[in-house]
């Protein structure tokens, strides 16, 4: 677990280092005004950019071990609180979107699997393609246009409250619902072909029980994998939704610091996101065993 995080942060550190663009220069010219070499030198000194590459990396790692994520280049504020505050909101949105998608997509997937190749199945199929091939900024804007302008339930300028959570969750969920529904349908179809389904029917077991407690249970393995994979893309693709719906998540902070080559913020963010990712992977592997005891705990 730890080596993974270390290797990852080293890769990111070297990637950022290799990328052209000098953070000091970017900060000083952020308003487009000219800058002298002295100023650049002072700023570089302040940012510690003059130290050799490895020294800077080890200083950063040492800092992390003491729980000190360092200070951002852009405004000298400590990195950790900034990240954690944003991360809290992003995680809330992620969980809300995932739960919302799962609640809608799983039954949809099962229904389309049962009613295979009927009109309902084709309509859902077309909807999922639409949901899946529209960029999230288009979905967000259309949702905002509908809910805030046409139907006026929500204000365009949302507050970071529960009501402000609804639209971003919906916008994030639409592509996810498409993915989950398709995946559930494919896996449930696979399971429906199994003999035991008929065996259970022959025993008079209720349809609902067969579907949700058995067919779905067996198909859960692949579905959980897809859900876990979505969590990763979620962390990355939140930026657009968060910006449009003013959700104070960490997405825009990460995006801007990558563009401004704000190393400490990017490193800190990657470390935290990676830890979450590895935990999520661990949980999914564990869940495989819970579902299918044949898979021993490797």
């Amino acid at each position: 677990m730890i080596p993974v995080l270390l290797i990852l942060t080293f890769i990111v550190f070297s990637l950022m280092y290799l990328t052209p663009g000098d953070p000091a220069l970017m900060k000083l010219t952020s308003q487009g005004t000219a800058v002298t070499d002295e100023l650049l030198a002072i700023e570089r000194e302040k940012m510690g950019l003059n130290q050799p590459f490895l020294v800077r990396y080890f200083n950063w790692v040492l800092g992390i071990l003491h729980g000190d994520f360092g200070v951002t280049y852009s405004d000298g504020q400590p990195v950790l609180p900034k990240l954690l505050n944003g991360l809290l909101y992003t995680t809330i949105l992620c969980i809300a979107a995932t739960v919302f998608s799962v609640i809608i997509a799983i039954p949809l997937g099962i229904a389309t699997a049962i009613k295979k190749d009927t009109l309902f199945d084709n309509i859902v199929r077309i909807l999922t393609f639409t949901g899946n091939s529209m960029p999230n900024f288009l979905i967000s804007l259309l949702l905002m246009y509908f809910f805030c302008i046409k139907v006026k339930i929500f204000p365009v300028i949302a507050k970071a409250s529960v009501s402000g959570l609804f639209l971003p969750t919906l916008a994030t969920s639409i592509p996810m619902i498409s993915k989950f529904a398709r995946q559930t349908r494919a896996d449930v179809l696979g399971q429906l072909g199994e003999e035991y389904v008929i065996g259970m029917h022959a025993r008079g077991v209720k349809e609902r029980v067969i579907l949700y407690r058995n067919v779905l249970h067996n198909a859960l393995g692949a579905i959980i994998t897809i859900v876990a994979l979505q969590i990763r893309t979620l962390m990355g693709s939140q930026i657009v939704v968060e910006t449009i719906f003013r959700w104070p998540g960490v997405g825009s902070l990460i995006m801007n610091s990558i563009k401004a080559r704000d190393f400490p913020v990017v490193q800190g963010a990657v470390l935290i996101l990676a830890t979450i990712q590895v935990l999520v992977n661990l949980v999914t592997d564990l869940s495989y065993c819970l579902i299918d005891h044949r898979i021993q705990l490797e």
Binding site: T19, P20, G21, D22, L25, M26, K27, L28, T29, S30, Q31, G32, T33, A34, V35, T36, D37, E38, L39, L40, I42, E43, K46, S74, D75, Q77, K82, F137, L141, M144, Y145, C148, I149, K152, P155, V156, I157, T243, I244, F245, R246, P248, S252, L253, N256, K259, R261
Partner: protein, 526 residues
């Protein structure tokens, strides 16, 4: 020498003598002899000041709110002043004239400047503004902000509460401009507990609630020295996305905002009775460097002649207006401009230099087709400008390929490895040419990437630096620019406009002021 350079550059970054041409009354520059005119007490917002409807909360947006409101740090003052919290000794008006604000007047005598403060100016917590407090503010700015470290070398004394005497090493013509920059906003250093969240300043509004990198709410400063404040308060929502601003405006949730995108401007334009559109050219210009070391002179000259700026700007519907020089032709130092669009002449020049028209409409010389690359980047629609240039240059027989970089400074601006390099920067900040001359024309400076720099122009630039007579400064600047244009090292394309929108009936928000850091004030109304 280095320290001097730093001092000159940062000074000009904001400096700008008020010698704007015929537009405003002959407000003299800070010529040593005549002291600047004293303006009326209230800040001279040239709009009709009578507020249509009093009171109310003004809702606007801020795309990239900073993490703190500390006036002296980084560029935070651009927001504190926009939010009507902080004020500076002098103020830059819409016609780039500089008039006293907190100060009463300034009297410059060679390298000694005596500034007297207005009477009755006080902070929002009631404490009176004293010359000593101004001095301490300047010192704090020098220590907190590396761009103003040169101010620490000034010798400032305060003989009494109302006057401050600033002595500089040598004559410093742009002192008044320095004191007109937002960074020199004045804070009550004793009365402020939290500089980041609630700086106590002299402005018409004070901070009610501030979320770092989030929304900022200000309320009326009841004991504002400059008379009655019309608005009850204002809210600046954090909104990074252009389309959401448009929807919020259409939904009536915000009353106006600045820097609107071209597309939004078009939409607002279709509904004149509910939206007021404002366009004012700023000092930010988009231009192309033509690399002297990689392109022969004839090709560079042909490129300059091949660009039709009118048609190009037509595509940008209001974002950019055509510019044929580093400075606006109205400015005294902008008299010299680049030649106008003339494709025939461009082809003539190429043909006279041995280029023959190839099969696919591209010129060739000894077998080599004239295929060049434009290096550009995706911010401020620079890539769209490059795209349109590609079209026009192809019509002139020059094949073009686009090379998009994620960030210019890290790539072709530092490596100088480009043929045509697009760039955007502020040329004559606050009406003074120095900023561009020293930032881009002087040899060896960061933005001097086209190989133009030579000793002769450097000497002329130094001359401009210390010349206090505005007309003389303009004359030398024109001569310099003539040399730049003759070298065909740079192709000026357009000036960015500051497009703003206000709800019908609303007034203010600094929509006519080219500067970015003038927003709401006592007269702003809904």
């Amino acid at each position: 020498m280095k320290k001097l350079m730093a001092m000159l550059l940062t000074a000009t970054m904001v400096a700008g003598l008020a010698a704007c041409g015929g537009s405003s009354t002959a407000t003299t520059t800070a010529a040593p002899a005549a002291p600047a005119e004293t303006q009326a007490a209230a800040p001279a917002e040239t709009q009709a000041a009578a507020p249509a409807n009093a009171g109310g909360i003004f809702h606007s947006v801020e795309a990239f709110p900073y993490a703190s409101l500390d006036v002296h740090k980084d560029y935070y003052s651009w927001h504190t002043q926009f939010y009507g919290i902080s004020e500076t000794l002098f103020r830059i008006n819409e016609d780039l004239s500089i008039t006293p604000w907190l100060a009463e007047s300034i009297d410059v005598n060679d390298n000694v400047a005596t500034i007297t403060l207005k009477d009755g100016v006080c902070f929002s917590n009631g404490n009176a503004l004293t010359a000593d407090m101004v001095k301490r503010n300047i010192e704090r700015l020098g220590t907190e902000n590396s761009r103003y470290a040169y101010m620490l070398d000034w010798n400032i004394e305060c003989p009494d509460d109302k006057t401050m005497v600033v002595t500089t090493e040598k004559a410093y013509p742009t002192l008044i401009n320095d004191f007109a920059t937002a960074e020199t906003g004045i804070m009550d250093l004793d009365g402020t507990e939290d500089f980041d969240k609630n700086p106590i300043c002299t402005g018409p509004f004070k901070v009610k609630e501030f979320i770092p990198e989030g929304d900022c709410t200000v309320e009326r400063n009841d004991n504002y020295w400059g008379g009655p404040v019309n608005l009850d308060g204002a809210v600046f929502y954090k909104m990074g996305d252009e389309e959401s601003k448009l929807l919020a405006m259409q939904n009536g949730e915000i009353d106006g905002y600045v820097d609107i995108a071209a597309a939004s401007a078009e939409i607002y334009g279709t509904d004149p009775d509910s939206y007021q559109l404002f366009t004012v050219p700023t000092q930010r210009r988009v231009y192309a460097y033509l690399n002297q070391n990689q392109l022969p002179d004839s090709v560079r000259e042909a490129i300059v002649l091949a660009i039709d700026r009118e048609q190009l700007a037509a595509y940008m519907n209001g974002l950019i207006s055509p510019a044929t020089g580093a400075y606006a032709p109205e400015t005294p130092y902008g008299k010299v401009q680049q030649p106008m669009w003339d494709v025939a002449k461009a082809k003539e020049i190429l043909e006279s230099d041995g280029y023959t028209m190839g099969a696919n409409g591209i010129y060739e010389k000894d077998g080599q087709p004239l295929n060049l690359t434009i290096s550009c980047y995706a911010k401020r629609s620079v890539d769209t400008v490059a795209l349109l240039m590609q079209e026009q240059l192809k019509a002139a027989g020059i094949g073009i390929e686009l090379k998009i970089e994620e960030d210019p400074d890290g790539t072709y601006m530092s490596s100088h490895d480009y043929q045509i390099g697009m760039y955007v920067s502020i040329t004559d900040k606050t009406g003074d040419p120095m900023n561009f001359l020293e930032g881009t024309i002087k040899s060896g400076v960061y933005m001097e990437v086209a190989g133009f720099g030579n000793a002769e122009t450097d000497a002329m630039i130094d001359e401009v630096r210390y010349e206090t007579d505005a007309n003389k400064r303009a004359e030398i600047t024109n001569a310099i620019m003539q040399k730049v244009y003759d070298s065909h090292d740079m192709l000026f394309i357009g000036t960015y406009n500051k497009n703003s929108v206000l709800k019908a009936g609303a007034v203010g928000l600094g929509v006519n002021n080219p500067m970015q850091f003038y927003g709401i004030d006592a007269n702003t109304s809904l």
